[in-house]
Structures are given as structure tokens and as C-alpha cells.
Symmetry: C2
Subunit: 587 residues, 2 copies
């Protein structure tokens, strides 16, 4: 089987033709030197690393898995070396703060790098991904001393990060957690408790591992208001900034998982571990959510990454595998890509991945504007759009990503079920992304329960107006056959939004959440297909084949995938009663 | 976690209240003594075996897997003993021909037994399941000598069966297979070739293993018309009917699979193996399809079985797991079954499983009528309906079954991704059912390409008329809120059917196939929900809680699941062009 080909050309198309990256960067102080040409050259290098170093470790890492012996975690052969090479090449700090040694490149590049890493090796990507999340939380909430001691080595990749939130009885509901932090009297705290599902909780890369741990101070109130965030390193930091004494934490076990076997997911025991408060006491969840939002976008990108890789493999197989006569009567055996139903599976994945990548770049641009634009109003506006899109990207990308992995596996028939082809690993690895960093149900609740109400309830209308303006602008080029169905789907979404606003309450919101989020995502994908089609058509007959295919994929999307909005709209119109009628005992 | 509870009460409801099993049996010669009371007592015993013996082996068998050493397959601890106990209890021959020692009970009981086995241990179920398929092929196509020598011991379960069809380059397209059979001059043939994906190809249960092998005779024409079916036992049968010399076949390897790890899926080498022709030369595919149709229904039932088991575990977890405040404001932590989105996941699985079971029983009743009704016209009519439903049951049950496994896993959050809870095994095991015995895409092509055209193209209309008559009859009791949406969905299906008839051709058929099959299945499920609701409502207020819930689940189905028919109808109306526009090179 062919290996992964980084879609840098498609990324370049998005940056130069669809989303006008150069103009966006010009408006951001500090990014004047950043443009698409630079971005593409960086992405080409990143693609080489992903395809050349990380992808070859993906299947062996799944087979070998991680082991725990004598309290030490061993990652699969080659992973530690690859991580060191990744860090030395500077990829850990790509979008990191230059004040602490980062390269300070925009979020747009980060998410495209993340996509390629996720395509090549999802398990691997969690090491730098979680470190970046920890860096964000420390950078936003910790004091100057902690920042100075930890950020440079985390941004360089010398040290890694881990998020220690979940406990056996506290998952979605972190208010139930029981890990305790007691002041030592010297400004530090002694942390005691057991956390589960801790990605990158330990490894054999050398360096330090910086745990961000949610815990309760003595006499803290019950529930989420009693939770604080602490930084607890695996090794205490010595006076010279290097590694000091071993901190009082240990790996209780490695979780035995469905997938991401090259990722050591740990049960962590904190046994009076020394830690320092990050942010205000009782504001731990707030500090953690700084980390979580960036992580949620990252997890969404994992869904996209797996979809891209799985679709590529399925396409390669479908071109080579000869079975049956052609549907047009061509005597067989013909490549199975000739069969309409195989094409349908392949096009579904392609239509998702291309639209998702565009939407990810658009969202990352909003993040860059929210962080760096000189105009506070522009920053606030962009920030709202990022808040709105975060649960959509996390949940929809991982749901469609999983579905794409399953459909791509199906293209290979029995060979897709056999481990050696690697397709079933995509399915197993993709599955976690629908669950961690807040299940997709939690994301949907976040969208309907919190995000729709932002800006006094006007945020969704502001976003929809933006889509409408783009549809109107693109219509002369993209054509009514494409634009009208998307506009109609948007009208369905607006109706569903209005219904939720009119019949509020947590029960109706919860009953609508998942279907509403999917409706929202389909409209957003349609919007991006209109923009991509218009951009490709504007290039005329000289466009390369990869761009001339865009309007054809767009047509597939509106004709065969977008109709799902009809079903979601109709289902949502019925509201909660059918969900709530059954007594818990009679399920 | 609680273990599997066989849904015998629900089965009894279907037999006594919904599908009038007793009246159906009365019309069938030889089944006069069979009634629901007998059936339920048999099913209760079967449920005890499934829950008590097979389910406890399911997780350990997945962890241990099968091994191949020195050419011998070892199944996981306990499996061989369980198989022997299963056979000794008479379960292998439940629906087997009494002429060869079977109990001759109706197909209805067989599929309900199959469901419980599949819920408890899908890997295990393949041993008796494939044996039964082999028995059907031998029973219908082999000569009297072969039948006498093999059927009694296969029906008793002393010997097992395997289907050897697929080769590395011949999967869906069996016409490409290259295994050869050369006459030995004594009525037997020497079979040489390598087959892959052979379930139950070898094991350590003792006894014999009867391989049905597709191969080509010398000078056979190319393609499917050159294929013949041969019976090749692992051990030649001695003069006394017992085990003789070892036949020239060996296990080349065990496939390394995503799931069904307790099932030894073999690469089989036939090295001049001695075999005997089953049926006419060149008619091998025909003989094999006798086996395949029964197997396809069995595989569909596997999807139902996994869905039932996964839903049960998810419900149990959702009742016990405490997280968050109630959506109605109840201070938390509350059981997560209080949350609407969790209910939605649970209800989706329940709405599928109940409807699928009803549809399976209905289909099995048609099979019993097709096999045993004294009136040839009734037999032919029932046979047509079975032919129509076979691809629907196989593909839709396994697709919805997989989706139910995934949704049930999601209910457990991170715990669902961890092996110890068993939910991820359901997902991995369920996945194979969408692939083997003809991928679900192949099933959909069979439905649109062959089945819709049966009886001169009148078969679908005959089936739809049957549904309409039932809807009309049930409407006064079930109510318009339930019946009208199902009738509207049926109208969509009729339109889609008419479009396919008008714009025929393999390209349009292939482009429609998967969506059409799902539309068909949703209408059939709706039909069963109307019948089940009407039956439950007819019992009045005295109905037990498990039956009083039926109309509520029916409401969920029509309000939240049936709207998918809108999307499928709209997508189908666009036809093939959007699928065929892209050149193979530019995917």
C-alpha cells in the first residue's frame, strides 16, 4: 500500500485562493513577514517529517504498544527517537510564544501541522499536542516564576506536558473530583489523589513531564468552584533549572485501550506530590478551559487527519483492486473505483476532509485575529466566532472523521478488517477523538447551552450573516445549483436556532444538542464548499486537476450529503418529549 | 457490570401478540405441535446457555485469541468445552432436518437462538452458524451418499463446517478464483489452491471439519460459470463412518483481525485435497448461494445481537453512573440516564433492536412458510419476500448494529474506550458483520439490481401493499401520530422504487443502492413499530411495563429516526451523475 501523501497543495490552495491568508496576516502586528509562500515551505517540511518519520512508526507502534515495568513506561521502538528529532527540528515551538523561545508562527500553520501529524501517527501527536495545551494554560494563568522556569523547556520540547483532570468517579462532571492539595507552607502544595486516562502521563523520552493537576484545597467548597489547578513536575526543578529530585508521583497502570496503543495513557498516583498553584484558588476549571479549548480544536483536527489518511489509502486500494465488470458494461475485472457505491464511500470522505480543512483554517485565522489584531472590537468578534466553532470542530470533525475511517475501511472489504492493511487501526484510533477532551455529547451541549447564548444571543445570527454574505458573493461564480441548497440548509439551521431560543431550558437544549450540532456542521461545510468551488472556478480552465475536481466534489456534497439537513431539521422540530417519556427503569 | 439478560419476554411478545406464531405454525404440516409456549420454553433454555456459558467466555476469548503452532489451531480457554456442551445439549440441530437427526424446529426459533448466541459471544456463534450453512448447501445439492455420510454428524454438531470461497484476488468477484479441482478417476477430485478469510477453518474441538470449497474443473470456462463446489473434509471418512486419514489441507496462517479474536479465521492451503462434487459442475456458485442466503440472514442477526447486548450494558451503566445536575434542575450528581442526549443514544439502539427483532421473526416466518406450506403459491410468495428481505436484513441490521455498538460505547465515555468494560469489543466484533458474507454494498446492489426486479418487477409493490394493509389495520389503535409518518416514509420508498424502475441501468442502481437499502429498512422498521405499538396498546393498562414502553419507543423512532427517510429520498432523487463525474485519477 502507498503511504501517506501530505496534502500541502490543497493547503496552499486554501491559503492563497480561498481564505486570503496573506491579507489576514498583513493586519496582524508581528506577522507582517508571514505569508502563504513562507507557510507552504514550512508545511512542506512538516509534511516530509510526518510522512517520512512518523507514518512509518504508526503500524509498528500499534502492534507493539506501551509497557509499564518497575514503574517505568516504555514507548514502542523508535517513538522516543522520533520525538527527540521532532523537538530538535523545532516543531514543538512552531506557534509558541517567542518570549519563551517559540517561533511565534500563526495558529493556521499549527493546525495544518497538527493535521499532518494526526494523519501520520495520532498517538505520537498527543505528546506535543498536550504539551502545547499545558503551555497555554501556564502562559495565561501562572505567575512569572513558573512561566520562566517551565515554558522555555516545554516550548522547545525538551519537557512535555500532561493534563490530569479525570478521576474514576469524575469525568464529565469534574465537580466530583476528590484529589486534594494541602499547602506546604513554602508556597508549594502537597497533592494527593489518583487520576485516570492521563495521556502522556509518563514516557521514556527523557526530560521532565509537567503535570497540570486539578485538585481541591482544604475547606474548598463542593463542586466546580472548589477546584484549583496545580503544576506538578515529574522531577522538581533544581536551582540551575535542570532536573532535581523525583516528585512523589507514580504510574499506577497503563490503560488497556481500543486504540492509540503507542500513546501511554496512564493511571497516575499523586502521593503528596509537590505542586504550585496556577491561577487563582477555586478558578482551576477556568484555567483548565484555556487549555481545553485549544485541545478541543486539536482533537477535531485529529478527526480530519485520520479521515485524510484513511481516504488516501482507500483511494489507492480502489484504483488497484480489480473486481467485477464495470457498471457501464466494461468487461471485468475493473478497478473497483469504477463502481458507484465505492465512489460514494470515497467521495463522502473527500467531501468531508476538504471542507473540514477549509473550516479549520478559517477558525484558526479567527484565533490568530483574536490573539493579535490591534483593534479590540475585531479581537472580540473573532473570539466569539472561535468560541462558537470550537465545539463544532471538535465534535463534527471527529464524528465525520470516524465515519470516514469506517467507510474507508469498508472499501477494502475483508482486507480492511485485517490488521496488516492498517485501515482498522484508523477506526480504532479515530474512535478516541469522539470521546476525550469532553465527549461529543458534551460539545453539543456546550454549543446549544452556552455558545448560542453568547453576545446576548446574537452570536449565531452574526455568524449566519457572514455565511450569507459569502454565499451571495460567490453565487455568480459558484452557480445556483450549488449555492441555493446551501442557502436552504442555512435557513433550516436558522429555524432550528430560533426554535431553541424560543423554547429554551436544559431539557430541550439537551434533546436537540447532537442533531443541532450536526446540522450546524453540514451548513458550515456547505459554506466552505461554495467558497472553494468559487475559488477553483475563478481559476478557469488552467486550474490543475486537483482544483478542477473541487466543483465536482461540491456537487456530490450538496446532492448526497447536505440532504441530511432535511432529516435533522425534521427531527429537531419534534423536540424533547419523545426522549423524556420513558422512565429510567424501563429502558 | 451486569451481564447479558436474554430478551425472552420480548421474543414471547412478538410470537404471541405481534406475529401470531401459533396460527402460522398451524398451517404448516409437521409443525402442528409447535406453538409459542413451546418456543418460549426452548428460548429460555437457550438464553440460559448463552448468558451462563457463552457470555462469560466472550471477554477472555477476545483477550486470549486463537493461536497456530505446528499446524494446529488452539482456541481460547473454555471455547472447545463450551462448543461440546452446546452440541451435546442439541442446539446445533435445533432447526436441522429430522431425517438426519435434527429437531426440525422452525427457522423462527433458530434466528432467536442465533440472536442470543450473537449477543453473548459472536465469535462462538460462527462455529454452529457456518456448520448450518454448510448443512444447507449439502442438503440441497449433494448426492445421497454425501448426505448420509456427513449430515448426521454435522447436524449433531460432532463435525463442523467451513465455507472456503475467497482468495486473495477473488473476493466480491468470485469469478476470478483460481483454485483447481482435478478428477482422481474414482469420483473424487484433487483440490489445489489457497483460500483466505476462512472462518472456523480449523479448531481444537475434535471431530471433523467439512470444507465446502469453490474451485475450477480442468477446462472450465472463465468467470463464474466455471466454478464448481466441492466437499473436502479435514479427515477422510473411514469405512465405519468415523475419522480416517488426514486430508491434504493445512492452515497457512491465522488472520490478524480487528475483532472476533476467539474465532480462528484461517488462510487455508488445499494441497491436492480429496473432495467430492456438490451439485452440478459449473453450478458451484448456485449451490454456494443456498448456503449464503441463510448465512446472510444469520449475519444480519449478529448485528441485532451485538446491538441488544451493547444497549443493555449501556443502559445499566447509564443508570448507575452519577454525573452532573439533572437537566430539570435536580441537584447532582444524577444518573446520566437523566440526560436527554444519553437517552437519545440509548433509545436509538433500543428502537433499532426491537424493530429488527420483529422484522427478523417476520422474515423467518416467511422462510418457514416458503419451506413447508402445503400451497405452492404461498410457498412461492413467501420465498419472494425472503429474497427481498435477505439483503435488507444482512446490511441494515449490521449497519444499525454497528452504529448501536458505537453509540452504546459512547454512553460510557472514556470507560467505553477501555478494554475492561467490553464495549469496545462490541464495536470491533460488530464491524466484521458489515463486511463478510458479501459486503453491505454488495447487499445493496443485490437489492436494487436483482431483488426489485423479481416477479416481473412486481415484488416490491406486493411487499408495499402488505405494509399498507397492516398500517390501515393498525391505525385505529396505534394512532395517526405514529401511522401517518410511517405511511409517508413508505410513499418516499415507493417513489424511490419507481425512479429506479424508470431510470434503470447498473450505474443508477449502484449509485442508489446503499441509500435505497437504508430507506427500505427504515420503512420496514416503522412498519414493525406500528404493529408492535398496536399490539401493546391493545393490551390496555394491564400490560407490563416492558410492553407499555413500546408506544413510547415507537414515538421516538418516528420523531427522531424516521426523518432520515427525508434525507435519503432527497439524496436519491439526484441520481448517479454526482458520483460519476470525477475521473479515477483525481479522487
Amino acid at each position: 500500500m502507498s503511504t501517506y501523501a501530505p496534502p500541502v497543495d490543497d493547503m496552499a490552495f486554501l491559503l492563497t485562493r480561498v481564505l486570503d491568508f496573506d491579507r489576514a496576516m498583513t493586519a496582524l502586528p508581528g506577522f507582517e513577514e508571514v505569508n502563504a509562500e513562507l507557510a507552504v515551505s514550512v508545511l512542506e517540511e512538516a509534511g516530509k517529517f510526518a510522512a517520512g518519520v512518523l507514518e512509518p512508526l504508526n503500524r509498528p507502534g500499534d502492534e507493539e504498544g506501551c509497557t509499564l515495568a518497575d514503574g517505568r513506561v516504555t514507548t514502542p521502538k523508535g517513538v522516543a527517537e522520533a520525538y527527540r528529532a521532532f523537538a530538535e527540528a523545532g516543531w514543538c515551538g512552531l506557534s509558541g510564544d517567542p518570549e519563551y523561545g517559540g517561533q511565534g508562527l500563526p495558529r493556521v500553520l499549527q493546525i495544518l501541522l497538527d493535521e499532518m501529524i494526526s494523519s501520520a501517527n495520532l498517538s505520537f501527536g498527543l505528546f506535543p499536542g498536550l504539551t502545547r495545551g499545558a503551555v497555554e494554560a501556564i502562559g495565561h494563568h501562572a505567575g512569572a516564576d513558573l512561566k520562566a522556569a517551565y515554558l522555555p523547556k516545554m516550548i522547545s520540547g525538551e519537557w512535555t506536558g500532561a493534563m490530569a483532570l479525570t478521576e474514576a468517579s469524575a469525568g464529565t462532571d469534574l465537580g466530583l473530583l476528590s484529589t486534594r492539595a494541602v499547602p506546604n507552607g513554602d508556597g508549594s502544595y502537597a497533592i494527593t489523589g489518583t487520576k485516570i486516562f492521563i495521556s502522556s502521563g509518563d514516557h521514556d523520552f527523557g526530560g521532565n513531564i509537567i503535570h497540570l493537576v486539578l485538585a481541591r484545597l482544604p475547606d474548598a467548597p463542593r463542586g466546580v468552584k472548589g477546584i484549583s489547578l496545580f503544576l506538578a513536575p515529574k522531577f522538581l526543578v533544581a536551582a540551575d533549572g535542570g532536573l532535581g529530585a523525583r516528585n512523589a508521583m507514580s504510574v499506577g497502570a497503563l490503560e488497556h485501550k481500543m486504540g492509540i496503543h503507542a500513546q501511554p495513557t496512564c493511571v497516575m498516583n499523586y502521593e503528596g506530590a509537590t505542586g504550585w498553584l496556577v491561577g487563582e484558588p477555586g478558578r482551576g476549571l477556568n484555567a483548565m478551559f484555556t487549555m481545553m479549548n485549544a485541545e478541543r480544536l486539536f482533537v477535531g483536527i485529529q478527526g480530519l487527519g485520520i479521515a485524510e489518511a484513511a481516504n488516501q489509502k482507500a483511494v489507492a486500494y480502489a484504483r488497484e483492486r480489480l473486481q467485477g465488470n464495470g457498471p457501464d458494461g466494461t468487461p471485468g475485472p475493473v478497478p473497483i473505483i469504477a463502481h458507484p457505491d465505492v465512489r460514494k464511500m470515497l467521495l463522502s470522505g473527500r467531501a468531508f476532509a476538504d471542507a473540514a480543512r477549509a473550516l479549520a483554517v478559517w477558525t484558526a485565522l479567527q484565533m490568530d485575529m483574536a490573539a493579535h489584531h490591534p483593534d479590540a472590537a475585531v479581537r472580540a468578534g473573532a473570539d466569539g466566532l472561535v468560541a462558537l466553532m470550537t465545539p463544532v470542530v471538535k465534535a463534527a470533525f471527529t464524528d465525520f472523521g470516524f465515519e470516514t475511517a469506517v467507510a474507508s475501511q469498508q472499501v477494502l472489504g475483508g482486507h480492511g478488517y485485517i490488521r496488516e492493511w492498517g485501515m482498522e487501526q484508523f477506526v480504532r484510533d479515530a474512535r478516541i477523538a469522539q470521546i476525550y477532551e469532553g465527549t461529543n455529547g458534551v460539545q453539543a451541549m456546550d454549543l446549544v447551552g452556552r455558545k448560542l447564548g453568547m453576545e446576548g444571543g446574537t452570536l449565531p445570527a452574526r455568524f449566519f450573516a457572514l455565511i450569507k454574505a459569502d454565499l451571495d458573493a460567490a453565487a455568480p461564480v459558484a452557480g445556483a445549483a450549488l449555492v441555493t441548497p446551501v442557502a436552504e440548509a442555512l435557513a433550516r439551521l436558522e429555524r432550528a436556532t430560533a426554535r431553541l431560543a424560543a423554547h429554551g431550558g436544559a431539557v430541550e437544549a439537551g434533546a436537540a444538542a447532537t442533531d443541532y450540532l450536526r446540522l450546524f456542521a453540514l451548513v458550515a461545510f456547505g459554506w466552505m464548499w461554495v467558497r472553494m468551488s468559487a475559488a477553483a472556478l475563478a481559476l478557469g480552465a488552467d486550474a490543475p486537476p486537483a482544483l478542477r475536481r473541487k466543483p465536482k466534489i461540491a456537487r456530490f456534497f450538496v446532492e448526497r450529503m447536505l440532504p441530511a439537513t432535511l432529516a435533522l431539521d425534521a427531527a429537531l422540530a419534534h423536540g424533547a418529549p419523545a426522549l423524556m417519556a420513558l422512565e429510567a427503569e424501563t429502558f
